[in-house]
Symmetry: C2
Subunit: 313 residues, 2 copies
């Protein structure tokens, strides 16, 4: 066997700041020994999420344990070595792996080639999925999954013995985001109609291409997210043909969240998981008072923390 590396390249930062200035490419970041529970991982791909940039900026509620810190929260790698007694782990040498969780329950920064991590914090990933998709499976798809399940009861899968009486529809903005795309595909899988609010693009051809792509993924209706369009006649008829919209997934805020809330049936829930519009969530007062619209937030890190605490009790 070839000798194992003692150092790695990594994107590190010594203090919070704008990512383009704060991050540097370290070429010889030392790798610690495996220790009792360690796994040596060759990272193959890691995404850059908006939240990763917020962590570097220091505006995210999670901060690195120490500096220099390595950026990145997700990734896909291969286990190259494993401590002889790694404890209660599910991975083996040669496995394609992803972090069990983002943030504090995870493996630390993933923007690096090599790392020694706590082996219990790795999970085996499907080896037949393309690397780019595998690298992105720890945060956004589970965020979509949990939001679809934790606030409004989801019908059983289409091929089960369905009770259509409880069928509802789901609305979402930021539909081309990773969470949005996952939510649309999951809805299609469950047989739940989805209504995608798509922002106008610079060019109409671009908007049309994105709308077609969303329909290909399974969106039932695509509505222009310009603050008012969902009130035109064609859209109203399309919406009237759907079961009541009981759940709205909001990754934007501002006027877009107001539009989402206005689509909801009485006692529906808006769940906010992001604020790409950098505006507060807006809920129409009348919907709130007279139709009992509820607004909640979702953060996968908190969900994982709560699960972990519940498991320990």
């Amino acid at each position: 066997a070839l000798p194992l590396p003692k150092t790695t390249r990594a994107l590190t930062y010594d203090a919070h700041g704008s990512p383009t200035r704060a991050l540097t490419l370290a070429r010889d970041l030392p790798l610690p020994p495996l220790g009792a529970r360690g796994a040596l991982v060759r990272w193959l791909a890691a995404p850059v999420n908006p939240a990763d940039l917020n962590v570097v900026e220091g505006v995210y509620p999670l901060r690195p344990a120490s500096f220099p810190a390595v950026g990145g929260n997700e990734g896909v790698g291969v286990v190259v070595r494993l401590a002889a007694d790694a404890g209660d782990v599910v991975v083996e040498v040669g496995d394609v792996v992803v972090p069990a969780a983002p943030g504090p329950g995870g493996v630390g920064g993933t923007w690096r080639e090599w790392a020694v991590v706590d082996a219990s914090r790795l999970r085996v990933a499907p080896s037949d999925l393309p690397l780019a998709e595998t690298a992105q499976m720890s945060v956004n798809p589970p965020t979509a999954f949990r939001m679809l399940h934790d606030f409004v009861p989801m019908p059983r899968l289409r091929d089960d013995d369905d009770d259509d009486a409880n069928l509802h529809a789901v609305a979402l903005n930021a539909p081309t985001s990773a969470v949005g795309r996952a939510a649309i595909q999951l809805c299609a899988m469950y047989g739940v109609p989805s209504v995608a609010l798509l922002r106008p693009r610079a060019a109409e051809t671009e908007y049309d291409a994105d709308a077609r792509e969303l329909k290909r993924l399974g969106a039932s209706v695509v509505i222009r997210d310009d603050g008012a369009a969902h009130r035109d006649r064609e859209t109203r008829e399309l919406l009237a043909s759907l079961p009541p919209i009981k759940l709205a997934l909001n990754g934007v805020g501002g006027a877009s969240s107001r539009s989402l809330a206005s689509l909801l049936a009485p006692r529906g829930v808006v769940v906010t998981y992001g604020g790409m519009g950098r505006k507060p969530v807006e809920i129409p007062v009348g919907k709130s008072i007279f139709e009992d619209i509820e607004h909640r937030g979702f953060w996968l890190t908190r969900w994982l923390r709560d699960e972990e605490a519940a498991r320990r009790r």
Copy 2:
């Protein structure tokens, strides 16, 4: 006994519209006979709530059963006659009474001198309370009461065997409104600190007088509701001395609701019962995602409807 009236004066409207134009003073509105369940009531006082004006305007989700309609939802009166077999009622001739509920479960319009109403929809009121206060006890005080109890567990009354570990504080805007004043007094009664966000007034002396009055009612802290003031040092220290703010009562919306939400401790709840600012409720995205702030609506009419439905099951 003097002969009973066959007609009454009343403020009526034949169609929805601006109250100053739509309302007329009818002098001879006929009174029906008592019938099987009727009570003849001499109304003594009735308030004008913003919601009453919205009903006349036709922008409220409740509408009169028919025209001409009589305005008003609340009031205080005296029972002058009662049908011989009025059924399961708790009132007697001579009782000071209020409607059991506003809206559809109530007695219909109260802006009138005399009415024949369903006796089961009246409740005996304390006869030692001033008329103006009695006339206003059916909507705003119970709204404050329910909002203080239904979303975050309220401690037992101060003179009970208290467990201070669960103590929390309550924040509210529109503190000089009828709901606000009731909430502040109830909080004081429960030993729960209250934080009142008070809008700037035209004159500073007016603001100071209102702030003193709120403290007299029991408010622990009065903060200027100008969108940012709660971040000054003195206010931060005052707030730091309180138990965590777990509940916020919002009657305004817009920037004021954003300020309320920003005061909340993690997992706190904003409850909206009014929108006097005519702006959507605003919840900061970060509070929502990272601190699990929840937003709910409260409408007494819906609460009463749900209670009624639950009783029938």
